[in-house]
């Protein structure tokens, strides 16, 4: 099955080369696409140098639009499955290949890499690979709020609702390339997929601390983030189900 790994990147020139190398090493069979979300630095150039195909959005559109671009590319170029991970180096590519295995084996349509679920159970910690992921307090609060509401909305247990490490098959590509909120990509997409009757599964993964830069979440922003997320979930619950995605 042809596989695409895409990386949404916004001003990540410092880490994008490394992430591409990591993916090449651990998922050698996959084609690589970097979705450059209107970066003003040399992200696109770095990615091309590293041998990735680059889709450059002319201006910054937000993570949701960038991810959708990746799904669109995968769908139109006829890839059987695709996966994406963050460009900041938080997501080890070795874990991405594990997500892809689930999709290739057709055990799920959409697989989410969760940094919270069953940590340490299935994952063998590889020594010397950097620190394990330690979330900040505001992120932990936000995560538990979303976890609760998303569980209520979908009647399925999710632990890592905002995870940016996912793998998907063509059903998901078709769904996400048409319906993807630019404002609240992660949460709404989960709800959407579950409501469409797709099999969504979480797989425990190991994540690393951010390699560079700081998280964009300040307390005020977190509150706004949570509020927006709740609106999205509420509206999503009343949205009509679209035509069943073709199986």
């Amino acid at each position: 099955m042809r596989t695409l790994v895409f990386i949404p990147a916004w001003n990540e020139e410092a880490s994008v080369t490394e992430v591409i190398g990591d993916v090449r090493e651990h998922v050698p069979a996959a084609d690589l696409l970097v979705v450059d979300d209107g970066s003003t630095d040399a992200t696109a150039a770095r990615a091309r140098e590293a041998g990735a195909v680059v889709a450059s959005l002319p201006f910054n559109q937000g993570l949701g639009a960038a991810l959708q671009t990746g799904y669109l590319y995968a769908l139109r170029e006829g890839y059987g499955c695709c996966a994406h991970l963050d460009a900041d180096g938080q997501h080890p590519a070795a874990e991405v290949s594990r997500l892809l295995e689930e999709v290739v084996a057709d055990r799920a349509d959409l697989v989410i890499g969760s940094r919270y679920r069953g940590a340490g159970e299935e994952v063998e910690a590889e020594p010397g690979e950097g620190d394990d992921y330690k979330p900040t307090i505001s992120r932990r609060i936000g995560t538990s709020v979303f976890r609760f509401f998303l569980t209520v909305a979908t009647r399925q247990r999710f632990t890592d609702t905002t995870s940016g490490m996912r793998a998907a098959n063509r059903r998901v590509m078709a769904l996400f390339s048409e319906n993807y909120s630019p404002d609240f990509a992660e949460i709404e997409s989960l709800q959407l997929a579950v409501r469409q009757g797709l099999r969504v599964e979480e797989v425990p993964v190991r994540m690393l601390e951010r390699a560079g830069g700081s998280s964009f979440l300040t307390p005020l922003r977190s509150a706004f983030f949570i509020f927006k997320g709740l609106i999205v979930l509420l509206v999503g619950s009343f949205r009509p189900r679209q035509v069943e995605v073709e199986r």
Binding site: D36, V53, V54, A55, L57, Q61, T69, L72, P182
Partner: protein, 154 residues
């Protein structure tokens, strides 16, 4: 002093309750002129291609409403009665406020639609670019291939 001002205000208020229409002929003329000037401005904007026809309709309706209100003050009284508002001024302000609220919402809807269109446009452009790069690399892999050959094969 304060008490006398207060009582004067109270008297005015009472007077206002009895007389239903406050519009003097002078305010009516001013309102009519403003409405006509407003509609002329809209026509001018359309003529200069600064405003699209489809977005002008709503403003024309607003201008005509203003004109109608100035020409037939009785209309306002009828509307106020229908709303159950005793003071026509209150009725006028609430109608205008609601209209503006509706317009602002309408703009947000249009804006959202256009934002979605712009996003899709940007995505299409990015995808085209990526496809070109991918195709180019594929062709580059095969030795002895010139530009002419690759364009013929595609």
């Amino acid at each position: 002093m304060i008490a006398s001002v207060g009582s004067a205000g109270l008297l005015l208020f009472a007077a206002g309750e009895e007389a239903k229409v406050h519009l003097t002929s002078q305010t009516r003329i001013v309102a009519a002129i403003l409405a006509i000037a407003f509609m002329a401005m809209i026509l001018e904007l359309i003529r200069r291609n600064r405003l699209q026809e489809r977005y002008s309709v709503v403003w024309f309706v607003a201008g005509l409403g203003m004109l109608a209100g100035a020409a037939f003050p009785g209309l306002l009284t009828i509307v106020a009665d229908l709303m159950g508002v005793r003071d026509t001024n209150v009725a006028l302000f609430s109608i205008v406020l609601l209209l503006l609220l509706g317009l602002a919402l309408n703009f947000s809807v249009i804006m959202s639609r256009q934002a979605a269109q712009i996003t899709r446009l940007a995505q299409e452009r990015a995808l085209e670019q990526a496809r070109e790069q991918a195709d180019g690399e594929q062709n580059g892999d095969r030795p002895g291939r010139s530009e002419g050959q690759s364009s013929r094969s595609s």
